[in-house]
């Protein structure tokens, strides 16, 4: 099992440490999972959505971390604006990184970070407040690693847990180029990521977690509009998600044992090719198997995502 020998999340070619990303990949399309997790590939041209969303998520995560360390809102904002300016700059070329999208530009990224802080950063007693653990530490940047079953560890990272009244929620931020409304928030139920957050939150905190509060940013050309939505999870829903996740992962592990590193034994799911703006491997899957390796060499680069490596 040479392709995954260097990954801590794999044991003899079978993934044993899982996260929401790898679970969604395998659930969407076994071939997609094979290309991304086993072959370790991603398109040479990085997705603008991943670039924009990644810098934005880091900025907000670091903002709350700076705040937890005692910085004022203005000091923390200055730090994350600087970080985002650097992260969106190509130091080798001496130019801003390419944001190949009419809405998700570098300017829009900085605008969105600053406007988010303006809208949501000040905590009030009657609004959302960062939850504090029993040792007094703020519940920010909580990594979790839970043993779901023998040979199945589920891990992830909670950016922040908040308190609204007496209830606890995990916080998450999303960006979209589309309109944010009830339809948008409904897409998070069911959702492996959100159910995993709520499930892990209640295990880590040893308290019920009602769900996930999502601060969604609609990125437009001239403005960013924010909407806050809640996706709730009941105890029964989380129990169902847990059982379903264990069963799904066991099925994927069985497929791994049977298919190994033989591409042809990882079935494609053509119904998933057009989801979320189109699968990044769609052009590859549409080629003849005989020439596919050439396209991998020309259009893809290594991407060794490993859920077992802490952030």
């Amino acid at each position: 099992m040479s392709l995954t020998a260097h990954k801590k999340s794999f044991d003899n070619g079978v993934q044993v440490v899982w996260d929401a990303t790898s679970l969604d990949l395998a659930s969407a399309c076994p071939r997609k999972y094979f290309y991304r997790m086993i072959r370790g590939l991603r398109p040479k041209e990085a997705s603008v959505h991943l670039l924009f969303g990644g810098i934005y998520a880091s900025a907000l995560e670091h903002f709350y971390k700076h705040r937890a360390l005692g910085l004022s809102v203005n000091e923390a904002l200055r730090e994350v604006v600087r970080e985002a300016m650097i992260a969106s700059w190509d130091a080798d070329a001496g130019l801003p990184k390419t944001f190949d999208d009419p809405k998700k530009t570098r300017i829009a990224l900085l605008r969105t970070i600053i406007w988010y802080v303006e809208q949501f950063a000040n905590e009030t007693q009657d609004g959302l407040r960062t939850y504090h653990l029993t040792d007094g530490k703020p519940a920010v940047e909580l990594s979790f690693s839970l043993e779901f079953a023998p040979s199945i560890v589920y891990c992830g990272h909670l950016d922040r847990v908040v308190q609204m009244g007496d209830e606890l929620y995990v916080m998450d931020q999303k960006t979209t180029g589309g309109t944010v409304g009830p339809y948008y928030f409904n897409t998070f139920s069911p959702s492996n990521q959100m159910s995993g957050y709520a499930f892990a939150g209640q295990v880590i905190l040893k308290s019920p977690v009602r769900g996930v509060i999502i601060d969604a940013a609609q990125i437009a050309v001239n403005y960013t509009r924010f909407e806050r939505g809640i996706t709730s999870r009941s105890k029964d829903q989380l129990e169902e998600w847990f059982a379903s996740t264990v069963w799904s992962i066991q099925s994927f592990q069985y497929l791994s044992e049977m298919a190994g590193e033989n591409e042809q034994k990882w079935p494609m799911n053509p119904t998933a090719c057009t989801n979320y703006g189109g699968c990044e491997f769609r052009n590859l899957c549409s080629r003849s198997p005989k020439v596919r390796e050439n396209f991998i060499k020309s259009d893809f680069v290594p991407h060794n995502w490993d859920p077992a490596v802490p952030r």
Binding site: L77, V81, I86, P96, I107, L110
Partner: protein, 71 residues
Amino acid sequence: MSDDAPSDINELFSRDPMKLTDADIDKIIMEFRKRRNIFNSNPAAAAAKPMSKKLTAKESAVSSLKIELDL
């Protein structure tokens, strides 16, 4: 760079961010705060993307003539 950038921070966005001072960063923050206030005061108007004006044949001819005269 997008044309929605406040013109006086365009230059800051073109600079190596490692060399930006705290004052430069604060200037960026202030400019975007100002733009947010403008947006919030009239979201519909601020959100409207300015349309590029299509010149009439007469206006095109006049502007072409003006360019020739300037030359």
